[in-house]
C-alpha cells in the first residue's frame, strides 16, 4: 500500500460504533452466513485491514443522469455507498471543494494512491478539434481522462455515454464523441451501460468490488455478467403474453389496457441486456414496460441511431437509404421476381419463334 488508506473499521468506529458492537456484528454475520466459528475473526480482520477504495468520479460529455440515478439508490443507500463503502475523493458535481482546490485533489489522489484508485467516468471525451468540445478545469477532458487513467486500478464506464457513445455520438457525431474503451486501451474497463444505468446496478457493482476486493466477472462487451447477462425480455412480467401471442396493436387499445406484450409497438426488450425487469427503478417501484411503454434499449450500443423507438424492425443504413429489412427484402425479391417473369416471357417468345422457324422440331 502506497499510503495509509482508511479501513472499514476506522469508518465504523468514526460513526460511533463500539468495538464490542463491531465484534458482535462480525460474529452474527459469520453465523448467519453459516460459516465456521473462526470466520468471525477473519471477517473482523478483513474489515480492520481492508482499505476503502478511493474513487475519482469524472464528468465528460454527459447529462449527469448517471449521477442523478446513482443518488437515488435504495439498496444500498447512495449515502452508504459514498460515505462508508468507498472513499469518493473527487466528484466535481457533488463535492464541496471547487476550483483549484478541487483540481488539486486529482493530483493528490493520483500520487498517493497510484494504481489503487478506481476511475469512474460519466460521459465521454469528444476527440475532434483536439478535444476542444469539452473543456474541464481549463484543459480538454480527454487529456484529463488519459492522465487519471494512467494510474488507475480500473475504470468504471458509467452509462451509455462512457460505454457506447450515446446521443452525443449520434450520426454524424460532429464532436467525435468517443466511448472510453476506444480511448483508454490499457486498463480494465467495466461498462455499466444504460441511460442512465439503474441506481442499484451502479451501487451493486461498487459493493461487489469493495466486498470481494476484485472486479466482477465481465461479459464479451465488458459489462458485469451479474446485471447484464439477460435480456429485459427474458424476465419481463409481460412475457407470458408474448408467448401467447397477445400484443398491444396500438396505443390505448384494449390490449394496452390489459397489459399485453409491447413487442409490436417496438419494445426493444428482446434485444436489450439490462436488469430493469428484475431490479426495476426507484426502489423497485416500476420500469418502463410496467408503465405501459416499450423498452427503448437505452443500454445497447447505437440505440440512438436505429430509427424510431416504436418500430419492430429498425432501419438499415448500410445501403445509403434508411429502410428496414422488410422494405429492402421485398424490393429485392420483387425486382428479382419481376426479372424472372420477364426472362420467362422472353424465353417463351423466343422458343415459339424458333419453333415456327423450324416446324420439324416438335419438342
Amino acid at each position: 500500500m502506497g499510503a495509509a488508506m482508511e479501513t472499514f473499521y476506522s469508518v465504523i468506529r468514526r460513526q460511533g460504533i463500539t468495538r464490542r458492537s463491531f465484534n458482535k456484528f462480525c460474529s452474527l454475520t459469520a453465523t448467519s452466513l453459516g460459516l465456521e466459528p473462526l470466520a468471525a475473526d477473519r471477517i473482523a480482520n478483513a474489515l480492520e485491514t481492508k482499505p476503502r477504495v478511493p474513487v475519482i468520479w469524472m464528468h465528460g460529455l454527459e447529462c449527469t443522469c448517471c449521477s442523478e440515478s446513482f443518488i437515488r439508490s435504495a439498496h444500498p443507500l447512495a449515502k452508504d455507498a459514498v460515505l462508508s463503502m468507498i472513499s469518493l475523493d473527487y466528484d466535481d458535481t457533488i463535492m464541496a471543494a471547487a476550483g483549484h482546490q478541487a483540481e488539486a485533489i486529482l493530483e493528490e489522489t493520483r500520487a498517493k494512491y497510484k494504481g489503487q484508485y478506481i476511475l469512474a467516468v460519466e460521459g465521454n471525451p469528444p476527440l475532434n478539434e483536439g478535444g476542444m468540445f469539452c473543456i474541464d478545469g481549463g484543459k480538454p477532458f480527454v487529456e484529463k481522462l488519459k492522465m487519471m487513467a494512467d494510474d488507475a486500478m480500473a475504470i468504471m464506464a458509467w452509462g451509455a455515454c462512457a460505454s457506447w457513445g450515446c446521443v452525443q455520438a449520434a450520426k454524424p457525431n460532429p464532436t467525435q464523441a468517443t466511448p472510453i474503451d476506444k480511448v483508454i486501451t490499457d486498463k480494465p474497463i467495466i461498462k455499466v451501460p444504460g441511460c442512465p444505468p439503474i441506481a442499484e446496478v451502479m451501487t451493486g457493482v461498487i459493493t461487489f468490488i469493495t466486498t470481494f476486493g476484485k472486479l466482477p466477472e465481465l461479459d464479451r462487451h465488458g459489462r458485469p455478467k451479474m446485471f447484464y447477462s439477460q435480456r429485459i425480455h427474458d424476465k419481463c412480467y409481460r412475457r407470458s403474453h408474448f408467448d401467447a401471442g397477445q400484443f398491444v396493436e396500438e396505443w390505448d387499445d384494449e390490449s394496452a389496457r390489459k397489459g399485453y406484450c409491447l413487442y409490436k409497438m417496438g419494445c426493444k426488450g428482446p434485444t436489450t441486456y439490462n436488469a430493469c425487469s428484475t431490479v426495476r427503478w426507484n426502489g423497485g417501484v416500476s420500469f418502463p414496460i410496467q408503465s405501459g411503454h416499450g423498452c427503448i434499449g437505452c443500454s445497447e450500443d447505437g440505440f440512438w441511431d436505429k430509427g424510431s423507438f416504436y418500430d419492430r424492425l429498425t432501419n438499415i443504413k448500410q445501403f445509403g437509404i434508411e429502410k428496414n429489412a422488410d422494405q429492402i427484402g421485398v424490393a429485392a425479391a420483387g425486382a428479382v421476381g419481376a426479372a424472372v417473369a420477364v426472362h420467362a416471357a422472353v424465353t417463351a417468345v423466343k422458343r415459339l419463334a424458333s419453333k415456327r422457324a423450324d416446324p420439324k422440331q416438335d419438342h
Partner: protein
C-alpha cells in the same frame, strides 16, 4: 439438335460416364447419368422444406399474427411459432452439416457447390457462355452433367454462403435465450462482437431471409427453365438422382 453424347464438350471427364450409364437404367434409348446420390437428394429436400418452414415462421416472429384473445395461459401462438422456427433451424443445421460432410465422401458432383474453381480460365470462359445463354445471345445451351459455372456460382452463394450465414446468426440469436453459458453462445457468441447490439443481428438475420427468398425464386426458375430449354431432366434428377439427356 445435337446428339447428347457430343454436347457435353465442356465436361470431358464425364463423356465416358454418360456413355457407360446410357446402356443401363430405365431410360430407353436416352443417355442418363447418376449425378445426385441419395444423401444429396435427401439433404436437398429436407433443407428445402425446413427453409420454407423457417421463412414462414421467421417472418411471423418479426411480424406477429394479430393479437389473440383470452387468458395468456390458454394460448401459446408465439410459443409454437418460435418452437417451429427453432426446430426447423436445428434440422437445417444438421442437414447442412451432413451435406458438407457428404461433399468429402460423396462423388465429385457433391463437392461442386462448396467451392468455385475461380483460378481456372475455363471456368470463366464457360461462365461467360452461360451469361450469354441467359441473355439470349446463344442459340444452344451447353450441357453439363452437374452444375454449369453460373449455376454453381449461384448455388455457392445462395445455398452455401447464405444458409451458413443464417445458421450462424440464427444460433447466435438462439443463444440469447439459452444463456451466456450455453454451447450456442460459446460457439456463436462472436457474432455479437461484430454487431454489439443484438437488434442489428436480428435485422441482418431478417434481411438474410429475404436473400434466401430471392435465391429460391432464381433457383426454382432456373431449374424449371433448364429442364425445358436444355432438354435435360433437372427437376427429376433431384428425385431419382439420374440426369437424363433427352435428345
Amino acid at each position: 439438335m445435337m446428339d447428347a453424347v457430343e454436347c457435353p464438350a465442356q465436361s470431358k471427364p464425364d463423356l465416358a460416364a454418360i456413355a457407360a450409364d446410357a446402356v443401363g437404367g430405365h431410360a430407353i434409348g436416352r443417355p442418363t447419368v447418376y449425378v445426385y446420390e441419395a444423401p444429396v437428394r435427401i439433404c436437398h429436400w429436407v433443407n428445402a422444406f425446413s427453409t420454407v418452414a423457417l421463412m414462414t415462421t421467421g417472418y411471423l416472429i418479426g411480424m406477429p399474427l394479430p393479437s389473440v384473445e383470452g387468458e395468456a395461459s390458454a394460448n401459446f401462438v408465439m410459443g409454437y411459432i418460435r418452437f417451429a422456427h427453432f426446430a426447423a433451424g436445428q434440422v437445417l443445421a444438421v442437414f447442412f452439416i451432413t451435406r458438407v460432410f457428404w461433399a468429402f465422401v460423396g462423388n465429385h458432383h457433391s463437392r461442386q457447390i462448396f467451392y468455385l474453381p475461380a483460378h481456372r480460365k475455363q471456368f470463366w470462359r464457360e461462365m461467360l457462355d452461360e451469361v450469354r445463354w441467359y441473355a439470349f445471345l446463344e442459340h444452344e445451351p451447353k450441357m453439363y452433367v452437374g452444375h454449369n459455372p453460373l449455376a454453381r456460382t449461384g448455388m455457392f452463394t445462395g445455398f452455401t454462403l447464405f444458409v451458413a450465414y443464417m445458421i450462424i446468426t440464427g444460433f447466435a440469436l438462439y443463444s440469447e435465450g439459452s444463456g451466456i453459458d450455453s454451447w450456442q453462445h460459446k460457439l456463436f457468441g462472436w457474432v455479437f462482437a461484430i454487431w454489439p447490439n443484438s437488434q442489428d443481428v436480428h435485422t441482418w438475420h431478417h434481411l438474410g431471409m429475404w436473400a434466401l427468398v430471392t435465391f429460391v425464386i432464381v433457383h426454382v426458375y432456373a431449374a424449371i427453365r433448364a429442364d425445358i430449354m436444355s432438354r435435360q431432366g433437372i427437376i427429376s434428377s433431384m428425385v431419382s438422382g439420374e440426369r437424363q439427356f433427352r435428345d
